[in-house]
């Protein structure tokens, strides 16, 4: 299927095919959870902890239960009595003790906003009113907010069962870092910090549940990204015989809607079973900010051994992850780094050491590229530091360390098989198109006028298509429940010759429907306007199970598109065989294109695909012996290149992901030294995400991800006070950027198709969020070079910039005196 770019053009791939999703969204016909209403529907509301850390002595919901319109209440006692805890999955790999995590707090509350009780009533307002009638007797405990303090022996414990707030402690070494440090000409060290932020999807969590006691079936409609997490969560906790998961439109997800949302689906499902009516629950903004999941605050200590020419011989990265008040996602910010551990570089000796520390904050979730923005922040800050220390050009240090294009496929020390890339070309294009030399001139001139301009650069890989076995590289038990990635799709030719695709992945804004139709159009040689996606996008009653991928590790491009391609290929072959039998000509002498079966020579229409389809469903006498009637095909795709490390070896080497896009980000900023405000004057991305299926879709993903990374670098983020209260429960307090804060972004594509995926495509989604914080940090530091400022921490909001300037001035004054 793969064609060399430039030799044979694709008919539909690479085109800006009209969006399949947006016509319904621009006209208000989206199908979001809260847009649904059914007869007899009741509404749930959740009581949440006002304390960061407290023991729950008792919960008395009797007054609420007696309130007008209230149908049922849920308390911790009942949760403990009538549900089971979730099983700890791969997100908690390496956890030494089993911790019972229920859908609500049962003994203690461990973060502000943790659910404690729930009410279901005949309308939403009555449910909310009734929350005020629930009496909870809390015994407040010392809260654990700062992860470094949490690690001290005398700290209060978030989980008594663990005996320490360090719940996972792990170290992996590939090669020999100590030897590399000994051999090095120079050792460069750095301490770095990245703050908590999140993607704050505009649509908060939402769920509708209905329970049929006669069939024992629970049906949930929710805006979760990964249906399997919801299915398994309901099964584990409620033990219900039959579960149907439906997912329609999702109002943004970014990883945020993978994990914690399962709690709320369980609560809603339980309430539906209890009150005997369909129940809807919709989270509000403040609830989502408090308890919907954050990215991880990460603290790093790094040392690298470097040769005089800038070659990195070895690097040791030690991190402390502030994972918040739950253990079920304790490991993800560590294990996800394994997919990008050496970034785009050839370094052979790498160590990653990490401690996951629980605190009384919101649990962490897989937010937009899970830990990789922080890892790349560290890598790229280190490269800039190395350049500074050795008096080299930062571009040159990147060049000398980059994997060469002739080295692909490239096996990294931690076991990743990088598929393809030409990183030097990305750097060259960035240097040329961004015009570094000219910008430096501008910078010097501006400085004379008292303006502080800075040029920043960062590069990163964007791994795509996750390997579920990756997390097990740090688990004692090497037996794996899941490995690699599998996903299925069903494609059907309708009785009129049009095509329907049943996807097994929900759509959270990544244009999965448009892209899947484009792929089907290419294989079936029919215009995408005749292809539709069966909706709701995911329905476990008809969709295939697999590694669903509404942004999870950018699985869609690999697994789902592989499945759609495979199903269409099967269908195409079947259509030819069947048509050949129907028209009575050899299969080699006919072709199918644009809904018609044609003879090749002379080219004339023989029969419409619609007629063939109709016959395939209604007349068995035309179907050749041995051929299954009907024109429907299901195909399960599996990643084809699973050697050598799809399962971790004894050293923890593992293929974290399977395709490796890359990008170079260049930023040109101005820092106002009076206000600390940073303005992005120009931002350029030079990207390789392989074969591009829909340029506008890919660009859109990149703009959004980069904008988020830039904003996170410049101040967007969550802030807790010293007692563990979240100060950022609104968009304004949180610092969400508007149209006026987000810069214009330019993109240049330098695609290097993957030899492993069906069309050469690579991930193109979260990628641009990975290097963006590093690029901004680099530019801000560069702008403030006259003051001797060095940037080690994010975010760089105005206050932080002014503090950096103050610190540098004090240091300068001290050194003068």
């Amino acid at each position: 299927m793969k064609k060399q770019p430039g030799t044979e053009a694709y008919r539909f791939l690479g085109q800006d095919v009209r969006s399949k999703e947006l016509p319904r969204h621009v006209s208000g016909r989206g199908r979001f959870v809260d847009d649904n209403q059914t007869r007899g529907m009741a509404f749930a509301a959740i009581l949440r902890s006002p304390y960061p850390h407290a023991r729950i002595r008792s919960v008395d919901a009797s007054r609420a239960a007696a309130a007008p319109g209230v149908l049922a209440v849920l308390t911790p006692d009942e949760i403990r009595r009538s549900t089971q805890p979730f099983k700890m999955g791969r997100y908690a790999a390496g956890l030494p003790v089993q911790i019972s995590e229920y859908a609500m707090a049962v003994d203690k509350v461990r973060y502000v906003g943790e659910p404690v009780a729930a009410v279901v009533a005949i309308d939403a307002m009555k449910a909310e009113d009734a929350l005020e009638l629930i009496d909870v007797d809390y015994e407040p405990l010392d809260s654990v907010v700062d992860p470094l303090e949490a690690m001290r022996p005398n700290s209060a414990l978030v989980f008594d069962e663990c005996g320490s707030n360090v719940v996972v402690n792990r170290a992996l070494m590939f090669g020999d870092v100590d030897a590399a440090l000994r051999e090095a000409d120079v050792i460069v060290r750095g301490d770095y910090r990245v703050h908590r932020y999140s993607s704050t999807a505009l649509e908060p969590f939402a769920c509708m549940a209905s329970f049929d006691p006669t069939a024992g079936e629970l049906t949930v409609l929710c805006n979760a990204q990964i249906p399997e997490v919801i299915h398994d969560g309901l099964k584990e906790t409620l033990g219900i015989a039959a579960i149907r998961v439906i997912i329609a439109d999702i109002g943004g997800a970014f990883g945020q809607k993978i994990h914690l949302i399962r709690k709320y689906v369980v609560i809603t499902g339980l309430l539906a079973r209890k009150c005997g009516r369909p129940v809807k629950w919709v989270e509000d903004r403040a609830e989502h900010m408090m308890a919907g999941g954050h990215s991880c605050g990460q603290i790093f200590k790094v040392e690298a051994g470097v040769r005089k020419d800038g070659t990195v011989l070895g690097i040791r990265i030690a991190e402390i992850d502030d994972v918040g008040g739950a253990v079920s996602t304790a490991s993800i910010h560590f294990t996800n780094k394994l997919s990008a551990l050496v970034n785009t570089y050839r370094v052979k000796n790498v160590a990653l050491e990490g401690k996951s520390v629980v605190t009384n904050k919101c649990p962490v979730v897989p937010n937009r590229a899970i830990g990789k923005p922080a890892l790349i922040f560290v890598w790229e800050r280190m490269i800039d530091r190395i350049a500074e220390k050795l008096g080299l050009d930062p571009l040159a240090v990147r060049s000398i360390n980059c994997i060469r294009k002739e080295e692909f496929p490239y096996l990294t020390p931690s076991g990743n098989m990088y598929d393809s890339g030409d990183y030097q070309r990305l750097l060259d294009t960035a240097a040329k198109e961004f015009g570094f030399a000219q910008l430096r001139k501008m910078q010097t001139e501006a400085l004379q006028a008292g303006r502080y301009l800075g040029i920043g650069l960062a590069m990163a890989i964007e791994p795509g298509g996750r390997n579920a076995a990756r997390d097990m590289s740090i688990a004692k038990e090497r037996a794996v429940g899941a490995a690699g990635g599998i996903n299925g799709a069903t494609v059907r030719i309708e009785r009129d010759g049009t095509v329907t695709i049943v996807l097994s992945t929900p759509n959270a804004g990544q244009a999965h429907e448009t892209t899947a139709c484009q792929v089907a159009a290419e294989v079936l040689d029919i215009s995408p306007e005749f292809i539709r996606i069966a909706g709701p996008v995911f329905d476990s009653a008809v969709s295939a199970w697999g590694v669903a991928s509404a942004n999870s590790g950018q699985n869609f491009h690999l697994y789902d598109l592989g499945a759609v391609q495979g199903a269409c290929q099967k269908l195409r072959e079947k259509l030819l065989t069947l048509s050949s039998a129907i028209v009575g000509r050899p299969a080699e002498s006919i072709l199918v294109k644009d809904g018609t079966v044609w003879s090749r020579e002379p080219r004339e229409a023989l029969i419409s695909v619609g007629e063939v389809a109709k016959l395939s469903y209604s007349n068995q006498t035309v179907v050749p012996d041995g051929l299954e009637p009907g024109l429907q095909a299901t195909f399960f795709y599996r990643f084809p290149h699973d050697v050598p490390f799809i399962l971790p070896d004894e050293n923890g080497r593992v293929q974290g992901q399977f395709t490796f896009a890359a990008g170079v980000h260049s930023a040109f900023v101005e820092v106002d030294i009076e206000t600390g405000h940073v303005k992005v004057l120009r931002y350029l991305i030079v990207s390789d995400c392989g074969t591009i299926i829909n340029p506008k879709v890919v660009d859109g993903m990149m703009y959004g991800a980069a904008a988020h990374g830039i904003s996170a670098a410049l101040g967007e983020g969550h802030v807790y006070d010293a007692s563990g209260q979240l100060m950022t429960t609104t968009f304004t307090a949180y610092g969400k950027p508007t149209t006026q804060d987000s810069p214009h972004i330019e993109i240049i594509h330098e695609p290097c198709p993957s030899p492993f995926s069906v069309f050469g495509q690579k991930a193109a989604g979260d990628g641009a969020a990975i290097p963006a914080p590093a690029a901004i940090a680099s530019a801000v530091e560069n702008a403030l070079k006259p003051f001797g400022v060095s940037v080690h921490e994010l975010p760089l909001g105005p206050e932080a910039v002014l503090m950096l300037l103050d610190k540098a001035r004090q240091k300068g004054a001290a050194s003068v005196s």
Binding site: V26, F32, M125, L202, A253, G509, Y703, G704, T730
Partner: protein
């Protein structure tokens, strides 16, 4: 909680309803009128997902009580199409991919319609200023700005 009778004209259709005094306009539009294209992203006027037009003015409908709309003419996202054809602003958002998940999209479209009624040739700076009350988490706004520019061009051609 007292109930009040209101009369509104929504997308050209006169409607009467009883509302509780505390009912927000957005709740009234979504739940009572069942026009669910107007979305709720924050309920405190920060995100603009609930933007609609009240007597021709752009309003965040979570910041207004339904009672306050008594006697008003309201246009929601559902009221923009003519003869089953998308409004030029809607069409431009489809072509330029001015939305991704679609949750902010109706509000963005309403704010853009309002802007372009007043100025059919806005600069990028004007577009960015005038849409700053509408948040989007997916797009980084780049293609939203492009959509408004494309819509402006379509509207100018239409006017000629």
């Amino acid at each position: 909680m007292s109930d009040h009778k209101i009369v509104v004209t929504v997308n050209g259709r006169r409607q009467e309803a009883w509302v509780e005094a505390r009912t927000l306009l957005v709740t009234f539009v979504r739940e009572t009128l069942e026009l669910t294209g107007t979305h709720i992203g924050c309920v405190i006027g920060e995100c603009g997902a609930c933007s609609l037009l009240v007597n021709g003015e752009l309003v965040k409908s979570c910041l207004m009580l339904a009672m306050q709309a008594d006697g008003a003419e309201i246009t929601t996202i559902e009221g923009l199409e003519r003869d089953a054809k998308l409004h030029p602003v809607q069409e431009a958002f489809v072509r330029e991919l001015g939305g991704q998940c679609g949750f902010c999209t109706p509000g963005m479209v309403m704010a853009s319609v309002y802007l372009l009624r007043q100025d059919n040739n806005p600069s990028e700076e004007t577009i960015r200023r005038r849409l700053s009350g509408n948040l989007c988490m997916c797009t980084g706004y780049v293609q939203i700005v492009k959509s408004v520019q494309a819509a402006a061009e379509m509207l100018r051609e239409q006017d000629q």
